[in-house]
Symmetry: C2
Subunit: 610 residues, 2 copies
């Protein structure tokens, strides 16, 4: 079962890469680009930066203290993609492993002296995830051998201590290794790491212990807080432990934390993280569009967590959050060329600046960068796109549930299905039955899809409500199931408590968030207000899509162009009303496509003309 | 001339602490509390933290790499206040000075190996400012001897290099030492530091060279950018160099940078800095109330710069900015008890949290902290309040210009004046002539004071426009000049380009910005919108002022209380309008007084009911 998450119980069973094969389309194209271009790009940069050379004993060592993990993330991606470069890279990694299984190019000789910032267990976590991927796609080899030796070293060293790592990930990795091998020590080690966190297990740091979720035991916390990637990786591991140990209460705790986070600490794009200083959530409703951090890796972590909760609970809502995050964060994180990346994903960019050539220090800029000082995101994208098929569908006892509508072939039990769709550009999804057989086929109907219809075979189209639309078999080869999702663009307004969005509206269409992008800042976005709720109009894309996923849809909205008042002290006795402005039209592009046409300003949330 | 800034030319001449004596009142009380309480508080904490012990050779050394400068700032404050603890503390400092004048407890033995972050020249800068203060208030002693040896070391070491410091301040300190001693090498050294910056003179850092203003030569920059304190300390030094070298073009350059910064990068309180990550300005109009950084030290730097520009140009606008920053930033930075401090000064706080006891790592919290890891602000407040008299008035060839209306005695030439006022709580300012004599007396009329009147002697009150209201002599002892400033509270609205403030208004009264403070979050500020422009009403303060400056004025504004819509996904198809809410009244307190009554939420910018 070629699957990154394989719980032994749960409402739904995942369908892995051996059950779901992506075909040409929005995600299939991106997965192919990832395998053909992005992975080599990442490997080249990590050679150039010396992060791979560290495993060859290069002196001085180069890169940050956690750079080993970047190679492991790429190895995981290569495992899912059966990439030919894997064996040699794994061999290189193995050269740095010590006799007792210890493996870290930064801390060798100085082991476990800095749990707050050392990232040693974090690196093992990513190594183990790579090893699990290899076990499940290929079977035992050098990479899995390295992995097991490292994991056993971790269990020996940490089973009976009170220590843990400043950056979670080893928890979910160990549970998955337990699932892949059946060795219960890995589960027990993960459980202990989860339970000892927050007692506290780590020293205090200037950011405070909430930064690495050590401020409270996980069972007492009410919301995700602190560093977003850390919080979501930890929560993923907690779900895994809860599921494998049958701890319903622990699972419900994470669900409640997720609920509050989703409704108070999540940007429209599904992105999480409002503070640059410590890459953290802010307070409830602290959701600034301009300084939204929304790290690409955080969105990947969010997808990982939502997927686990979907499998455990069967609640389709988690699949909808995954979709939102996939289309508006994951797809945004990498450019259409597959070679440049966003680290932060703000919803408003005021200055059209190009990133520096080569390594970008900052997680900022109006164009994607080839590489970063802390270059977690490119490799994280690589491993996620390589395993994306595993997020498309799942099984229950009655059949298959299709959660993400994208061209693919899906096989499970007697069901052999081909999904054909131009989604998200168009709303029709056809599931073609390839072989005779039985089993229910359920298609997810998003909550915005009021007016959706489903037809099966020659039957009439019937209205279906948000949730699942199900067609029962039995099936004959050639049968068709057709879901029609309404794709009218729609205005979306924020909760009043999100102060930073007051007086603004955004446009969505299907699962996509749209934005105004002003290449060269002409017209200046600061001069425009929009006439919501005048319906947006669909217009042909001004450019080639660059993918086989259908023609990208752009939008136009009615707007008013009026210069703001003068340039003195920016606070005065009268409201700065828009008056006397000229009617105009503002072009909107899918948010995930912005920043592909040169330096630009951008905004998702558009001020509404009074 | 007991004056922190003493230019050899300029439109105005400063009046120092020997010419202006603060009396009981808003600022006089704070200066007294500062001398009697705050200075000892700072010294005690720096002993406890070991920062003073470093000068005694304590091992291991304690504190951050720049902690020496904190002792120097306190020494400067003690010099202005003629504090009895100064001589012994100066003696302690001197023990760490080396034979060639070098003095730094962090880098001794490893001198000048890190110009980006080492802060060695920065520390000298603060030492020199302390030495200048001592020279001008007391004359030569141990502290001035240490200072001159260090300054001469700096000139020898750096006159012919291309190096400079990652944190400016030595520039203005050296110019002042030149002014105090007449030794031209100090001016020349300052000039070279200014001119070599941005060529570039420093290495690149992850924040980028704009962080320490090394991205561009100062003559090419169009706005203040990067780390705010660095930017404003540098600009102060540039003005000093421009004035002493007669470089009009350089002065005009700083004026233009200031103009753009004031109109696009300044919060209503006069605070500057919108980013926590690098304590920097953001882009133009990036002015979030909740994540406003507005470091207390930045406001002090802003006052230092505005004062220099006022003296150089005579433009009364600079005095108004100084007033705004003094009442809404400097007065906010220290609690009414004189023993706790704000580091960051946001305009919106969502969570009522108490700071940790003892040292506060973070520059955050809804109450002031006794001390911080980086505790620049308390000592900076101490030296500023100790020298505040120097900002009250200045002289021109015709007489005296009073810029800050606060009880004081002012003597200059034949003029001997006593200012009596309950300002900023009431709007009447009486200048009583103490001795017969001649000379014009000008009082600043703020730009908001439309309807102000001036009367002199038994003459009628006449309307005066914003700017200066001038009464000519000659004077007889007992004559009175009376300025009446209208103090009606007023609504203030933001420029439309400040996205974070859309749909909000704030209330000001006189020079004071007001805020809603909800101790214990009851009523929850998130549920309230205000009925601007219904005029706010004045109400007696619910509490003792705690100062002799008059009874604090609080305000009430009409408001609507309505819970926001439900708690699901916070983005929906309909605007989240306030409807069906209950009319209520919202109490506002002066912003500088918030956070003195226990943990609270707070907001300056109030959403306006539609």
């Amino acid at each position: 079962m070629a699957n990154p998450v394989l719980p032994s119980s749960g409402v739904l069973s995942p369908l892995g890469l051996d059950s779901v094969r992506l075909a040409a389309g929005f995600w299939g194209d991106r997965a192919a680009l990832n395998r053909d271009v992005t992975m080599a790009h990442c490997q080249e940069w990590m050679e150039r930066e010396g992060w791979i050379g560290n495993f060859r004993g290069q002196r001085p060592r180069r890169g940050r203290e956690f750079s080993d993990s970047e190679i492991y993330k790429l190895l995981e991606g290569m495992a899912w993609a059966d990439h030919p470069a894997l064996p040699e890279l794994a061999e290189t990694v193995g050269r740095a492993q010590e006799g007792d299984g210890y493996l870290n190019t930064r801390w060798s000789g100085n082991r476990y002296t800095d749990f707050e910032w050392g990232h040693e267990l974090y690196c093992y976590g990513h190594l183990i995830q790579a090893g699990v991927a290899r076990l499940r796609t290929h079977g035992e080899d050098r990479l899995t051998e390295i992995t097991l030796r490292a994991a056993d070293h971790v269990c020996r060293r940490f089973m009976d201590t009170t220590e843990t790592c400043g950056h979670p990930v080893v928890e979910m990795a160990l549970v998955e290794l337990y699932r892949a091998t059946g060795a219960e020590r890995y589960l027990e080690m993960a459980r202990r790491f989860v339970e000892r966190r927050g007692l506290p297990a780590l020293g205090d740091i200037p950011f405070g212990r909430a930064y690495f979720q050590d401020d409270l035991p996980v069972r007492q916390a009410q919301v995700f807080r602190g560093h977003v990637v850390r919080a979501l990786y930890l929560a993923s591991g907690v779900v895994d432990v809860a599921v494998e140990t049958g701890d319903e209460e622990l699972l419900k705790t994470v669900e409640a934390q997720w609920e509050r986070t989703l409704t108070r600490r999540t940007h429209l794009t599904g992105g999480m993280g409002s503070r640059h200083a410590d890459e953290s959530y802010g307070e409830d409703f602290e959701l600034p569009p301009d300084r939204a951090y929304n790290e690409t890796c955080a969105s990947i972590a969010s997808i990982m967590l939502a997927h686990r909760l979907l499998l455990a609970t069967g609640d389709v809502r988690y699949a909808e959050v995954t979709e939102r995050t996939m289309y508006n964060m994951l797809a945004t994180g990498v450019a259409l060329d597959g070679r440049s990346f966003f680290y932060a994903n703000p919803l408003h960019v005021r200055v059209a600046a190009a990133p520096p050539e080569g390594v970008n220090h900052a997680a900022e800029g109006s164009l994607r960068s080839q590489w970063f000082d802390v270059s977690c995101c490119p490799n994280n994208i690589a491993r996620t796109l390589a395993s994306l098929g595993a997020y498309v569908a799942a099984a229950d006892s009655g059949g298959v549930r299709i959660h993400q509508h994208t061209p693919a072939e899906i096989r499970h039990g007697e069901l052999a299905l081909r999904v054909e769709t131009g989604y998200p550009w168009s709303g029709g999804v056809t599931v073609r039955v390839l072989e005779d057989g039985a089993g229910a086929v359920s298609l997810r109907v998003p909550s915005w899809a009021s007016g959706a219809t489903l037809s099966a075979g020659s039957g009439p189209a019937r209205p279906v409500a948000p949730g699942y639309a199900t067609a029962q078999g039995p099936w004959r080869a050639g049968d068709e199931i057709r879901l029609e999702l309404p794709m009218e663009p729609r205005w979306t307004y924020p909760d009043r408590r999100i102060d930073a969005l007051r007086g603004c509206a955004a446009v969505e269409r299907g699962p996509l968030v749209y934005c105004a992008e002003s290449v060269g800042d002409e017209p200046p976005l600061a001069h425009l207000t929009v006439r919501a709720p005048v319906p947006p109009a669909e217009v042909p894309s001004a450019e080639e899509d660059g993918t086989a996923g259908g023609e990208a849809v752009e939008l136009e909205v009615a707007a008013v162009r009026a210069a703001p008042r003068g340039n003195g002290w920016p606070y005065g006795p009268e409201p700065d009303q828009v008056s006397g402005g000229a009617d105009t039209v503002l072009r909107l592009v899918p948010y995930h496509r912005w920043g592909n046409r040169g330096p630009a300003t951008m905004r998702v949330w558009l001020p509404v003309a009074e």
